[in-house]
């Protein structure tokens, strides 16, 4: 995959005085400025890249305040970053400036078992936090694919989702309150530490998913729930996509909400079969990976009901995992999609559009037609339970013609998504990658309101500029 250099209006090389001023704030040992280091902080999990001018590792809220005040004075961009695993370019310093790496804020401050609330710093790795609360029989459900190597701060900033969203919702459903350093340096608290709270505007929700453009998160209050006692995993293979889509609708209308309802289309199945050789039928239209959780006694009933529902459809095969090992085996195909897909072509253009659940089959059929017309390879997989589909065009980006055709296809697929009542991004955020398309989904007035909020909080546009609105 070749990197794509971005042309934004850059701040320019910081002067010696400026570097010294920042050194005075955070200390010399908390700054990286050599080219070798800048190269390591100009990317996330997209194939985009733009180098910062300085990398700073703050360790106190006051340091962040001071840096932001200085940024307003000297007008340089500041870009907050966790572990750099985002999928929309949110932490890429597209106009240079300072990358603010938040990983030193990595303490779990409190897990309150009586009130089911935890207070954490933003640099805590999501998976580490989940492990800690699960030791106490508690549960923090949001599980983006990068759970083991992304931070809670990044999850809050992008409002990350994951397979469990179908039953448990996404990050915003668990954030009760925040401590935020505003772009102008002041520190505010939002939200509450209680289950309810309606005093004033809901600023917490405003900051969740704001992609690092409205403030730097320094503390997060999270809601926890009891850890489900047990979990069962099943896999169903269908002849037609429509059968799988019907299965999804019927399962949910039968009053079962699975904790996971993952889906793979025919192209993904073929791709994985070529890669793993595990005997998936190459002509299967779709694969569903279904997980239910809850009290041990109730799970057999759910499994049986799902078995019955899917058996009435055109299904090839139904497997139930009896233990941990079999569960892993069932997940194997789903987890292999990413590496397997690169066998089709070297570059992936990945989107995370979301449509209403009952439009999934329509979407897949139409998207395939759009790709076929332009002779492009497309695979669809993702979270069928909530309609969040990871649609990927696998292209050879050295072929300029193919690249252009792919860009056209993406725009048309976005229009299709909106026509079906969906949204351009379910969980990755707008960042850089979807910035050119937001006016397809949002009205001019809506965008204006958002810009006014941004201007009110960040009058000099120093915090993560060039994102969301940067067309």
């Amino acid at each position: 995959m070749t990197e794509e250099r971005l042309d934004g209006k850059r701040y320019g090389t910081p002067s010696r005085t400026l570097i010294r001023q920042i050194e005075n704030i955070v200390g010399k040992e908390s700054i990286l400025s050599a080219k070798e280091d800048l190269i390591c902080y100009g990317y996330d999990a997209t194939n985009l890249e733009s180098l910062p001018d300085l990398v700073v590792f703050p360790k106190a809220v006051s340091e962040i305040s001071e840096i932001l005040r200085l940024a307003n004075e000297r007008r340089f961009p500041v870009v907050p970053r966790g572990m750099g695993t985002g999928f929309s370019g949110g932490s890429i310093p597209v106009r240079g400036g300072v990358v603010l790496v938040m990983t030193r804020f990595n303490r779990i401050l409190e897990i309150d078992r009586e009130n089911l609330v935890a207070t954490v710093e933003p640099g805590v790795v999501t998976g580490d936090f989940q492990k800690e609360v699960e030791k106490l029989g508690l549960f923090y459900p949001p599980d983006p694919a990068s759970t083991l190597y992304c931070t809670l701060g990044g999850n809050v900033a992008e409002c990350a989702g994951g397979p469990r969203a179908v039953k448990y919702g996404v990050t915003k459903d668990y954030v009760l309150g925040l401590e935020v350093v505003l772009p102008t340096g002041e520190v505010i608290q939002t939200g509450v530490k209680t289950a309810k709270g309606v005093v004033g505007y809901d600023l917490t929700k405003l900051f969740v998913g704001s992609e690092g453009t409205l403030g730097v998160i320094t503390k997060i209050i999270l809601r926890l729930i009891p850890l489900p006692e047990a979990r069962r995993t099943m896999m169903a293979l269908f002849r037609q996509v429509e059968d799988a889509a019907t299965a999804v609708s019927k399962i949910i209308s039968s009053k079962i909400v699975p904790s996971t309802l993952e889906f793979m289309d025919n192209a993904s199945i073929q791709c994985v079969e070529d890669y793993l050789h595990i005997g998936l039928p190459r002509d299967a239209g779709a694969l569903l990976l279904i997980e239910v959780d809850g009290d041990r006694e109730v799970l057999p009933k759910y499994v049986e009901r799902i078995d019955r529902i899917t058996s009435e459809l055109n299904r090839y095969r139904f497997e139930i995992a009896e233990d941990e090992k079999q569960t892993d085996a069932l997940w194997r195909a789903r987890k292999a999609i990413s590496p397997a897909s690169y066998r089709l072509n070297p570059t992936k253009m990945a989107e995370d559009i979301t449509v209403p659940r009952n439009q999934i089959a329509n979407f897949i059929q139409e998207a395939k037609r759009i790709a076929d017309e332009r002779k492009l390879k497309i695979i669809n997989f993702g979270h069928a339970g909530d309609g969040n589909i990871h649609m990927s065009l696998m292209i050879n980006d050295r072929d300029e013609g193919e690249k252009r055709r792919a860009e056209q296809a993406i725009e048309e697929i976005f229009r299709l998504t909106l026509r079906l009542g969906g949204t351009l991004s379910g969980e990755h955020g707008v960042g850089l990658t979807k910035a050119p398309y937001i006016d397809l989904e949002l009205s001019q007035m809506t965008i204006e309101v958002m810009k006014k909020i941004k201007m009110a909080l960040d009058p000099n546009n120093i915090l993560n500029p060039g994102k969301i609105f940067g067309k």
Partner: protein, 421 residues
Amino acid sequence: MIALAPLKEIAEKCVRCGICQSVCPVFAEIQKEAAVARGKVSLIRGLLSEEVGYSDRLSTYFLQCLGCGACTENCPNGVRAHELILAVRGLMVAKRGLSFPKRLIFRQILNSVRLLPMLLKTGSLLQGLLFKKVPEESGLHLRFSLPYLNKERLIPSIATPFFLDRFSEEVEGKEEGRRIGLFSGCSMNYLFPSIGETTLRLLTQNRFVVILPKNQTCCGLPAYGSGDLETVRFLKEKNIKAFSHTGVDQIIVPCGSCFYFLKEGYPKLFPEDEEVKTFSQKIVEPSSFFLELGNFSRQSSPAFDQEKKLRVTYHDPCHLRREMKIYQEPRQILRSLPGIEFFEMKRPDRCCGMAGSFNFIYYDLSKKILRHKLDDIEATDADYVATSCMGCMIQLQDGIHHRRTKTKVIHLIDLLGQVQP
């Protein structure tokens, strides 16, 4: 031998997902992108586009890697990152030359047949002067710091006479049988000769005639780890020559790291070389070898037939587990030995942090990495931690000595030897 251009394709397979951040032991301590595979791959791209050169800083970052292969094992796109890093070290040497101590060790000492044994013999005479012996352990402490040797470090004492000097080139037991070669490697020859003796005994008891060529030498892995491919080539030729007239069709290698390098490293680095191919096909690893032989477990042993079974855990050397996929065999052996109860530690495959010269250049960092391993060992409350690599043994002994835990480090072969006296 290595060019930058072929690395391009491999480097471009990295999609920068960042998963390596969750498995890299160095990143866990340093928390800087340049420490982890994703950052290093980006630096390789930087080298390709000539945005950066072979600077001191770049060299430091590329030396800050254990080569444990955890990144490669977990990469969803199959980027063999740790091999890329080693390849860049080769390029660094080509561009910048070796550091002075490495040049001295690899080019002057390892490259000479007589110099290393001679120096170490002198060393063994002087070690009483330079070091003080640690009671109850087979290790030494420096009396004062020397360059590249931290005073805190516990070093196994140099054992004279050296293993290869203790025996003739051909050793047979009571009954004559098949001939088999034994590759000593430096650590066994100079530091752990008793493991060699046990191997010899087990082999002759099983009716093997053991061939021990005197002119065998270092496998070359330390030189490879430092990017010195010239020395690797030289040592490879010496070793092949040493065994070429022995007529053996199997060569057993007790150290997991040497085993990996002779079996897998040589043919990878010299793919066109027919002699290398023949040689590497003969290389065998003790745990799989003795398992196949299969009669060790049936014998009971007075030493181990006790009321209280010994608690044993196993540490996986990276070269055996990740490179050679040998991890079930040692466990199979441990589970079948009488008098032993086998317990798995939490992360048996996490690198101990030794990684050859890494441990000398970054002693403090290496000890931080070791800490996690020691925690896991301690949690098992084991009497013994068994392993199959002499490098890991040196590291674990150092750590356990400082913590004063009860667990003793033992080579799997020595455990086998105790059961079959």
